[in-house]
Each structure stands twice: as C-alpha cells, then as structure tokens.
C-alpha cells in the first residue's frame, strides 16, 4: 500500500502540472485579421465623403482579412430611409451600418439596433493590439456612447467651415469675415459680381428644409440660442432662435442663388465648384471635391477659414460619421473586423490624405500628411474648430427626423421672406407635440 501512494501522487502531480499549462478559456487565440476568412458581409453606407472614402479602400480590407464585402451606398436622404427600413425589419440582412449617431443614435439605441462594442474592444482576440483607442477623438467617442456603452467607431469628423473664393476676395479687397456682421457685408459686396463671364452669388447655403437645419445650427448657437431650454423644452421661438432664422434666411434671400429652397449639399457643392458662389458654409470635408480637378473648376482658388463668430462667439459644430455593427447581424465578429479596420490608423490616415478629416490625432500629426497637404489654412481651421466644436448639430432627442422637418420649414419660410416669428412659434409647438409622443419610446 505504501508503494502505491507515491505513484498516485506522482500521477496527480503530473496531471496537475499538465492542467497548469492548458490554455485558459477566453484568452485562447491571438488576434488574427484572417480569422473569418471566406465570409461575406453586407455594409450599407451613405454616399458622402466618408462612405466613398471607405469604399475606395475596400480592396485593402479584403486583402487583409479575406472577407468579401458587399458595399452599398445611397444618397443621404434615401440612405437614412433605407437603413431604417432594413433595421426595422429585423432580419439581420445588414451587418455593418454607416451611422451619424447625432442624427439617429438615440432612436437606434432605444430600438436595440446597435451592437455595443465595449466587450469587443476589450477582447485581445477580437481587437488588433495596435488599434490605439486613445488616439481617437474623445468627443467623437463620447457622442457614440449611450448609457455607458460605445455603439460605433468613428471614421470621419467634420466641423463647420467657411469656404471662400480667395481670388474674388483679393480682387475686391475683402477681408475674411470673422463675425456674422462681416459675413453679411462680404456677401452683399460680392453678390452679382462678374467673374469669368458669369454672375457670382454672394453666398450659398443649404436651403432644403430638413437638410438645412444641421448647417443652420452653428448660426443658432452663434446667436446664443439652443435646441432645448434648460428644462428640456423646445427653444425654437426664443429671440435668439428667431434672430438666427431671420439672419440665415436673409442671407440666402438677398445674396443667394434662385431656388435656394431646393438646395441640399449636393446642389451647393455643384454651384460652388462651377465657380458661381463666392462663399459657402458647410462641413469641412468639401475640400474632397473642391480640389479635385476632374470635378472642380476652381481648384486652388479656395480659402478655408473658421466659421465666423456671432454675438455669443464662434460655435462650429462637429459631425461624426461612424461604422456600427447591427445587433441582428449573423456575422458580428466579421462585421466588427470591418468596423475596426475602417477606424484603424492605416485606413484613417489614407482617407485623410485624400481630404476626409479624421478622428485620430495621429493622422493630423502625421508628417507625410503635413508635408503633402497644400492647404495649411484648412488644417489649421479644422484643428482649431475641432477643439471648440459641439456635437449638437441635431436636437438631442429621439424623433430627430420629424423635428428637422418642422425646423426646416421655418428656415424655408425665412428664405422666402415670410413671417419668421409666426413660423417659429408654429414649429416650436409642433416640436413639443412630437417630443411628447416620441420621447421615451
């Protein structure tokens, strides 16, 4: 009996030792881009700079991971509707969605359509060690967080910017406007001047109802207004808001193109690249088009400045476009690989080189970028604006789409020269009704 005990002990000891070296569950594999090789995922994206920039680099992703991507883009209004439709259907037909959380984030989150990414980011198996989350803009990440959960990884960050025609400013000896008053002065002086055989309008802005509201917001904040009052009620008919409506509409009515009420950003960009407008305020990624000789007739003639200050100061907004994983996707890990790649250092830098303003500090500081980027004023204006920008380009509520339509109606009224106060009162009342119906749903 005494002899058996030692062998038993040795066996147990060997067994124990062997178990010590068994791989522990949860930290099994290392990160490998190729771990879902051969899958196919479906991505839906908006046809804007961010969506197109990522699309241009798809071959990189497919080579890196062996995952095939069905990438679909739609124009902005159509995109919003299509993505909503597919997610509402709940069949998991889409794996990755391109999302502007400030527009739809709250609604999508409350509907349970986003897949929270925190666990994925923490897992060494699923996230590339070189990902460097800290490099990504904090406000952008903050904007993508609901109830403490991060729902999407940002890929492009744009702020409000003033674009102006350097050549016209030089010719007519006009300083770059720093305030709203100066902006109006400049628009007045430059309206209807002749240039290269065509008439130029003083300024072009979005005028198409809901589309205009996001670019009107910086004016709202510049006049000291806000979307909601301190107790969360609509603030669309405060004196500051009415001033903002009035100013915006006045600019377009007096110094803008005819038919401005139908101008989405596609039309604004089109007019500007044909050289028919002296100034334009919109998001900062338009440089993507303006400096492309195949599309633009004004290459090299554009100046980039910070959005002017109103009585309450300079209040540019920041608009972030991110990639998110659909909660009903059947290929969540492969989808996450895509999202991760889209927000990775390499991809972000590549997009930034083409003019898609990025969310990563490293990309802005990259020496190659700084050397090649000819438009130092753009870089400077972007960086300075990003420091002070707010993410509230939409009211922080659920029914953003409906409210944008109501607020947009006031903007249209203002452009047409109708009674702004009356329209603002009406919109405010409607907004209250809508919020009552939809907040908390």
């Amino acid at each position: 009996m005494a002899r058996r005990v030692p062998s038993f002990l040795i066996a147990a000891g060997l067994l124990f030792a062997w178990m010590l070296f068994l791989p522990r569950p949860g930290e099994a594999q290392k990160f490998d881009w190729q771990m879902h090789k051969g899958t196919t995922i479906r991505v839906m994206a908006n046809k804007n700079v961010s969506g197109e920039a990522i699309q241009a680099n798809l071959a990189d992703f497919e080579k890196l991971t062996g995952i095939k991507v069905q990438y679909e883009t739609f124009t902005e209004d159509q995109y919003r509707q299509k993505v909503l439709l597919e997610l509402a259907a709940g069949t998991g037909s889409v794996d990755v969605i391109h999302t502007a959380t400030a527009q739809e984030g709250l609604k999508f989150w409350r509907s349970g359509w986003y897949e929270p990414l925190d666990e994925y980011l923490k897992s060494p198996r699923l996230t590339d060690p070189g990902f460097d989350l800290a490099d990504i803009s904090k406000p952008a990440l903050q904007g993508n967080t609901y109830d403490g959960k991060l729902v999407a990884l940002p890929t492009m960050q744009q702020t409000t910017m003033l674009y102006y025609r350097k050549d016209l400013f030089d010719k007519h000896k006009i300083k770059v406007p720093q305030t709203f008053a100066e902006l109006e002065e400049a628009a007045k002086k430059l309206n209807n001047v002749e240039e290269a055989g065509q008439k130029v309008v003083g300024i072009v802005l979005r005028g198409k109802k809901a589309a205009a509201t996001s670019q009107w917001a910086p004016y709202l904040f510049g006049f000291g207004g806000s979307w909601l009052t301190k107790d969360g009620k609509p603030a669309m008919n405060t004196p500051e808001a009415v001033q903002a409506f009035d100013y915006y509409g006045r600019l377009l009515r007096n110094y803008g193109p005819p038919g401005a009420v139908n101008y989405h950003w596609y039309e604004c960009v089109s007019l500007f690249v044909q050289g028919k407008a002296a100034m334009y305020t919109d998001v900062s990624n338009r440089i993507f088009f303006f400096e492309d000789p195949s599309k633009s007739q004004i290459v090299g003639k554009i100046g980039y400045a910070m959005f002017p200050a109103g009585p309450a100061g300079r209040k540019p907004t920041m608009e972030v476009w991110s990639m998110a994983v659909s909660s009903k996707s059947k290929k969540k890990e492969a989808a996450y690989l895509f999202v991760q790649w889209a927000a990775s250092k390499e991809n972000i830098l590549k997009m930034q080189m083409k003019g898609a303003p990025s969310v990563r500090a490293s990309a802005w500081k990259d020496p190659k970028f700084l050397a090649e980027q000819k438009h130092k004023d753009w870089v400077e204006a972007s960086l300075k604006s990003l420091e002070i920008a707010s993410t509230d380009w939409n009211p922080p509520i659920v029914a953003v789409s409906e409210v944008r339509d109501e607020v947009g109606a006031v903007i249209v009224s203002s452009i047409l020269g109708e009674n702004v106060k009356a329209a603002a009162d009406k919109a405010n009342a409607e907004m209250a009704k809508i919020m009552e119906k939809t907040e908390g749903k």
Binding site: R42, K47, N48, V49, G51, E52, Q70, E72, T73, F74, T75, Q78, L85, E86, A89, G90, T91, S93, Q198, Y266, E267, V269, S270, V273, Q274, F288, F289, D292, K295, Q297
Partner: protein, 282 residues
C-alpha cells in the same frame, strides 16, 4: 377644324396653303411631346460641363462616356435583368390567373371577381406597401423575385382582366356555341376558340401589363435591396454624392425608357382600346 372631308372644288393654291398651315399645326402639337425625349438623349451625350452650360447647348461634340459608365460601372445589366424577370413573371402570372377570370366574368357573370379587380385598380399602391413589407419581412422574402412578382400582380392582374373582359365579350357567341355543339368541353372552347380569336387583345394586355409593371417605382423602393433592385429605383443612384451627374442621369433615363418605347411600336394601334377596354362598354 373640319369634321368632314372638305367638299366642293376649292382652288389648288389656297388649298395647298391651308394644308401646309394645318401640317405646321400638327408638328407644333407634336413638338412639346417629343422634345423632352430629345433633351433626355442629348443630355446623355453631353459631358458634365456641357450639361451645366448656360445658355443650354444644342450643338456640341457628343460623348458616349455616360452611356458606357451606365452599363459598366453601375451594374445596369443586373438591374435590366431584374426588371425583366419581375415584369415578365408578374405578367405571365397575371395571364395565367386573369385569362380564366376574365372569361368567366364575360360569360358567366362573376360580378364579385369583377368588383375585386376594380378595387385593385383603384387603390393607390401606397396602401399595399406597409402590409406587404411586414408580411414579406416575416417570410424573409424581401429582395427576392418571389416577393416582387407577387406584389406586381397588383398592377398586372387588373390590366389583363380589364382588357380581356371586353375582348371576350366581343367573341361571337355563335362561335362558342358551335364548338360546344360539336362536343367540346368548356375548357377546350376557352383555349381553342375564345383565346385565339382574342389574339390581338391578348397581345395588348400582355404588353400593357408588362409596361406598367416595368415602370413601377414604389414597390421596388421599399421591397428590394441590392440584389433585386429594378431599373426605376436604380436610376436614383445617379443623384450622386459629389455633383448631380446630369449626363449619367440622362443616359440612365434613356436606357430605362428605351425598351418600353420599342415595345410600344409593336402595339401602338391597340393601346387606346386596351387602356379603356371595359369602360366604353357597359
């Protein structure tokens, strides 16, 4: 305006002048209707710069780049295939279901079915979209041929039935009676006598049903995704991100309208009769 042929013996020169004036009037009437198509084709042949020229260009050097782009870069062939499959399928199904129904209504007084068809023709397509969306979602049939063909039945079935009711009513009863006397079953009468006699109306019904299904936009907008998207929705892709690609848009519009215009040439004589059949009679 003369409702009868001119009678009497007018002098040749005055008549020729009057005739010439008349023809000018005819051309003047036709021009607005044709102009839009002319402008569409022209737009497809212009570059972006030419398309946004002010004043508009009538003379310019054409380019085929837009048409090439439409085919190559935008999967147009796939969309054409989808449109064909959906419209073809919906039309064939409508024939299979509708021909017997129309015959029954014409000969056997099935008023209930007739009323149902009328209701189908009246109701705006919008009222179908939400229910079909939710139904096909549950079945997982969104973005499939099955879903689109069944939905388009709402368009093609009423057209087929409506036209064929009038056609069957026109088949002389004696013809059918004679065949019955010879011992033909009703089914044989239907397939061997009634149908062949209505050949032309049948062609009209088929082509009209196909055309209206081809042209439909709202169903494809909501019920298709990337795989089964049809042409009318695809043309939307041309309101592109950087600028409005007028050349591409015009080229796409031309490509979509062309098959229809060609089909029309085949049945132009019978279209009107087809579109109002069953209405002029009571």
């Amino acid at each position: 305006m003369e409702l009868l042929r001119p009678f009497g013996r007018p002098r040749p020169t005055r008549k020729m002048l009057a005739d010439a004036a008349y023809y000018i009037g005819v051309v003047a009437i036709c021009v607005p209707f044709v102009f839009v198509f002319y402008w569409m084709v022209l737009g497809g042949l212009k570059t972006q710069v030419q398309n946004t020229a002010s004043p508009p260009l009538f003379l310019f050097t054409p380019t085929f780049e837009n048409f090439r782009k439409v085919f190559v870069a935008n999967q147009f062939l796939k969309y054409i295939e989808n449109s064909f499959m959906v419209s073809g399928g919906a039309t064939l199904l409508a024939l299979a279901l509708g021909l017997p129904a129309a015959h029954a209504i014409a000969r056997h007084r099935q008023r209930g079915v007739a009323l149902g068809i009328l209701v189908a023709r009246m109701a705006p397509h919008l009222s179908y979209v939400v229910p079909f969306f939710i139904l096909f979602q549950k079945l997982g049939w969104i973005d499939t041929y099955a879903c689109m063909i069944l939905t388009h039945l709402v368009i093609t079935l009423p057209i087929v039935v409506w036209i064929m009711i009038g056609a069957f009513e026109d088949v002389p009863l004696e013809l059918e009676e004679a065949a019955r006397i010879d011992g033909c079953s009703r089914w044989r009468v239907f397939t061997r006598i009634s149908l062949p006699v209505c050949r032309t109306s049948l062609a009209t019904a088929t082509i009209l049903g196909f055309i209206f299904s081809w042209n439909n936009f709202i169903f494809a907008l909501i019920l298709t995704g990337p795989e089964r998207r049809t042409l009318p929705v695809a043309v939307f892709n041309f309101i592109s991100g950087d600028e409005i690609d007028w050349g591409g848009l015009s080229a796409a519009a031309t490509m979509i309208t062309l098959p229809i215009l060609l089909l029309i040439l085949l049945v132009q004589r019978h279209i009107v009769q087809g579109m109002t059949a069953g209405g002029l009679k009571e």
